[in-house]
């Protein structure tokens, strides 16, 4: 308000400066109108040559405008000439909804100066003559109040107010009229945010269908039908549809002579707007099967192969057809687990859908190209596919039968050339997942911890004991060796005495001329002495052995020779007839001398 006061002050100021040139914009409009009523808004400017910028007519639909007109009047009163110029801009508006609306000031520009009109406040009231018509028929659910008076209204009729996500709903844009419609200017369909929209082919109405609503007959016509697939859950609001129609109105009175035949008609534009409507979209229930890909409706699935038998590297086609009613355009291909050894490609998809009032129906064909890379019999396991059936309120899974085909070995590379033939490379082992290896199912023997050998004292005792045994054995053996050595010494010591004794015995035999006994005794003395002295057992004693032993002891060759000579003499005398050459006395002398020398040398 303050702003306006300021502007008004400015105007008065300007008036003061430029008398007779003040520019005033006046507004003419009814302050109270009814819904659907056509109103005339006029801006009048008392000058020309400027430009009016129209304000936004919020809450109103502009039927036409601006229509401009110009008038000038000149008056001469008492010789004083006054010229009045008037430029008017006329808009025809139609109120669409009840309420109080403010049309902001219009701005008039002339030269560099701008002028503004007053703000206009218009109250829109309900048409007192209109009644809320109760809808009839099977479209009761789309209950809307008529937007533009009782003689004409439009509706967006929904086939259902509560649907599942992905389920189709039919929206019908329909008008009801009791007046003549000569044509349709413009239809602004709602944007249907949150839906996927499919238009259903609707023939333009040739003639109106009469429908009785609340005792009043209306001519009805369907502008357009849509199939809507909700894309999100929750309450979705559908914007109103705005239809601008041209209505024929009778102009003037009827001719008294020619009746209605020459009746003139005015064509008047008029806006018809439906109410906002909303729909509740429910999410799909829990428990989706694994093969569910988002299809809602009723479907059937078929799978077939184009041939049963093929050759390696020769392609064949698997066709999977999903047919039925529902959001078939939005469905995805079923997941097929092809056996290994087949090369497969992404399917070629063909969709044939017809939109009807009952929903979309048609089929979607997936064609998989399969190239077997090795020979054998393959089986494509059954193809499972799930959809949600909103009528039965449950998920349904359909499956095809498993399909088998034979792949024959190809007969060498094709003669056509190597272009198509790719030698099958060695196939790698395919690994599908990682998991830990399986448990051990058996234990050979249960051992307990804590009784480890190392922790046991007796373990170390084994070392000690065996070492002790070792030392004992060594010591015992040493003692034995020592005792043996002692016996040798004794014999050694006694050897001389024994020999002397035997020599004495020999000399007594010599005195008694018993020569055989004499030589025997000499022999014994010599051998016994050598055996004891050299530590050679008598049984092992030979001349040769004695010689070795004496040589080892580093004795004179003389002693050795003497010993050998003497034993030879004795043996000769003992085992041969008496030899003249032998002198018993000399033998005795020699023997005693030999023993003496050995006694000296060997000690």
């Amino acid at each position: 308000m303050r702003l306006i006061t300021v502007i008004l002050l400015l105007f008065t100021f300007k008036t003061a400066v430029l008398p007779g040139q003040d520019i005033v914009i006046t507004v003419e409009v009814p302050s109270v109108v009814a819904v659907g009523e056509q109103i005339r808004l006029m801006y009048r400017v008392n000058t020309s040559g400027g430009e009016l910028k129209e304000p936004p007519f919020e809450g109103f639909y502009k039927l036409s405008g601006p229509n401009t007109s110009y008038s000038m009047s000149t008056r001469i009163i008492n010789g004083k000439i006054t010229t009045e110029t008037s430029y008017s801009y006329v808009y025809y508006l139609q109120a669409t909804r009840e309420g109080t609306y403010t049309i902001p000031p219009a701005v008039y520009e002339k030269g560099r100066k701008t002028y503004t009109s007053d703000e206009v406040i218009i109250e829109v009231v309900r048409d007192p003559s209109s009644k809320t018509p109760a809808t009839t028929g099977n479209e009761k659910r789309g209950a809307e109040t008529p937007a533009a008076g009782s003689d004409m209204f439009a509706k967006v009729l929904l086939s259902s107010r509560e649907i599942y996500l992905g389920e189709a709903v039919v929206a019908t844009v329909k008008y009801y009229t009791r007046v003549d419609i000569s044509g349709v200017n413009e239809i602004k369909y709602p944007s249907f945010n949150g839906f996927m929209k499919e238009e259903i082919e609707t023939p333009q109405p040739r003639s109106l269908v009469t429908e009785n609503i609340d005792g009043v007959n209306y001519g009805t016509g369907v502008f357009q039908r849509f199939l809507l697939y909700p894309q999100r859950t929750g309450e979705i609001t559908i914007d109103p549809v705005q239809i601008s129609v041209l209505i024929r109105q009778r102009g003037g009175l009827s001719d008294p002579f020619f009746g209605d035949f020459f009746q003139t008609f005015n064509t008047v534009p008029r806006l018809v707007e439906s109410d906002r409507t909303s729909i509740k979209v429910k999410p799909l229930p829990e428990g989706k099967p694994a093969s569910f890909t988002g299809a809602v409706g009723t479907f059937d699935l078929k799978a077939s192969l184009d041939k049963d038998t093929t050759a390696v590297n020769d392609a064949l086609t698997l066709t999977v057809t999903i047919s039925g009613q529902g959001n078939i355009k939005l469905t995805d291909a079923p997941v097929i687990s092809f056996p290994s050894g087949l090369e497969t490609y992404d399917p070629k998809t063909t969709t044939k859908v017809a939109n009807r009032e009952t929903g979309s129906s048609g089929n979607k064909i997936f064609e998989y190209l399969i190239i077997p890379r090795s020979a054998g019999t393959y089986t494509i396991p059954k193809i499972e596919w799930s959809f949600f059936n909103p009528a039965k309120n449950q998920y349904q899974t359909i499956a095809s039968r498993p399909l088998s085909f034979h792949v024959l070995k190809s007969e060498g590379p094709p003669a056509a050339g190597p272009a198509l033939y790719t030698p099958a490379p060695g196939e790698d082992i395919k690994y599908y997942g990682t998991d830990i290896r399986f448990i051990k199912s058996k234990i050979a023997n249960f051992s307990k911890s804590g009784d480890k050998i190392l922790s046991n004292r007796s373990f170390y005792a084994i070392y000690g004991f065996s070492l002790f045994a070792f030392i004992t054995i060594v010591l015992l053996r040493r003692g034995q060796v020592k005792r043996n050595a002692d016996r040798v010494k004794v014999l050694n010591r006694k050897a001389g005495r024994v020999a002397t004794k035997r020599l004495g015995k020999a000399s007594s035999y010599l005195a008694g001329s018993e020569y055989d006994a004499f030589y025997e005794e000499i022999m014994r003395a010599l051998w016994g002495y050598t055996s004891d002295k050299l530590n050679i057992p008598l049984s092992e004693l030979t001349a040769r052995r004695a010689e070795e032993e004496l040589n080892r002891r580093d004795t004179d060759m003389e002693i050795v020779q003497m010993l050998i000579e003497l034993t030879e003499i004795c043996e000769q005398v003992m085992y041969a007839p008496v030899s003249e050459a032998s002198e018993p006395h000399a033998v005795y002398q020699k023997a005693s001398r030999l023993i003496r020398t050995m006694e000296e040398k060997l000690n």
Partner: protein, 253 residues
């Protein structure tokens, strides 16, 4: 009389142990059955009972590791796989599963490689059990003593030389296997390594909550434990960093 009493005691003990071995075998099989049916927690319960009663088999530990793994208890699984690996160094399944379990550890690090000699030494020590090494040591020691007797009392030169060489070899064998036996026992029963069981763990610079935070590690990591003070223990990470953590945040292998 005394001898007879002793004999009776020995027989009863042997019979009791044989009986318990039988029941152990049964309980083990029971666990295998649970595992096969996918009842991993029941299998773990039975096997852990056996484990706690002192059964010391790598198969049992490997199975416990598997059952923990199936219940998504990765640190416990790693712990038992590590235990099994110490008892049977060459088992491929244990190695493989340990590797799989380790791939679930959050911490990635650049481990300081151990000196290869130490590695070889440990591997050699673990190749057979501590008991087997001890037995080998004792047997080779006794054979060595017998060879020594041969050396001492033989008069043949050839025998003496050969037996001397054998004495030398057997002595070395006995000594080395005794060392291996000790090493193996140390590695298996007194291992300094531990597996972190706390989901997230902060290593501090001193054994108290007021110590500066040095690093954050996650469950399943294998660390080396050191000095213990109060409820705190110094640990060494695989990358060589050291810090103090609470003793209840890990379990020794």
């Amino acid at each position: 009389m005394k001898k007879i009493a002793l004999l009776i005691i020995i027989i009863t003990v042997a019979a009791a142990s044989a009986f318990s071995a039988d029941s152990n075998q049964e309980r083990f099989a029971e666990g295998v059955g649970h595992y096969n049916n996918g009842e991993f927690s029941a299998a773990v319960e039975i096997w852990m009972d056996l484990f706690n009663s002192g059964v010391d088999n790598y198969e049992l530990m490997y199975n416990i590791g598997n059952a923990w793994f199936k219940q998504n208890e990765i640190p416990q699984a790693i712990l038992f796989y590590e235990r099994a690996a110490l008892r049977k160094a060459g088992d491929e399944d244990v190695k493989y599963n340990l590797q799989v379990a380790r791939s679930f550890i959050k911490d990635k690090y650049d481990a300081i490689p151990e000196v290869f000699l130490v590695n070889w030494f440990n591997l050699a020590a673990l190749s057979i059990s501590s008991d087997s090494w001890a037995l080998l040591s004792v047997v080779s020691f006794i054979i060595m003593l017998l060879t020594a007797l041969l050396f001492l009392f033989s008069s043949s030169y050839k025998t003496k030389v050969t037996s001397f060489v054998f004495i030398f070899i057997l002595f070395l064998l006995s000594a080395v296997s005794l060392i291996f036996s000790f090493r193996s026992r140390h590695l298996v029963y007194h291992n300094e390594h531990a597996i972190i069981t706390a989901p997230v763990l902060t290593g501090r610079s001193s054994p108290s909550d007021s110590g500066t935070s040095l690093f954050v590690i996650h469950e399943g990591l294998k660390v080396k434990t050191g000095e213990m003070i109060g409820g705190w223990c110094e640990i060494r990470l695989p990358d060589g960093n050291k810090g103090w953590v609470q003793t209840d945040a890990f379990e020794k292998i």
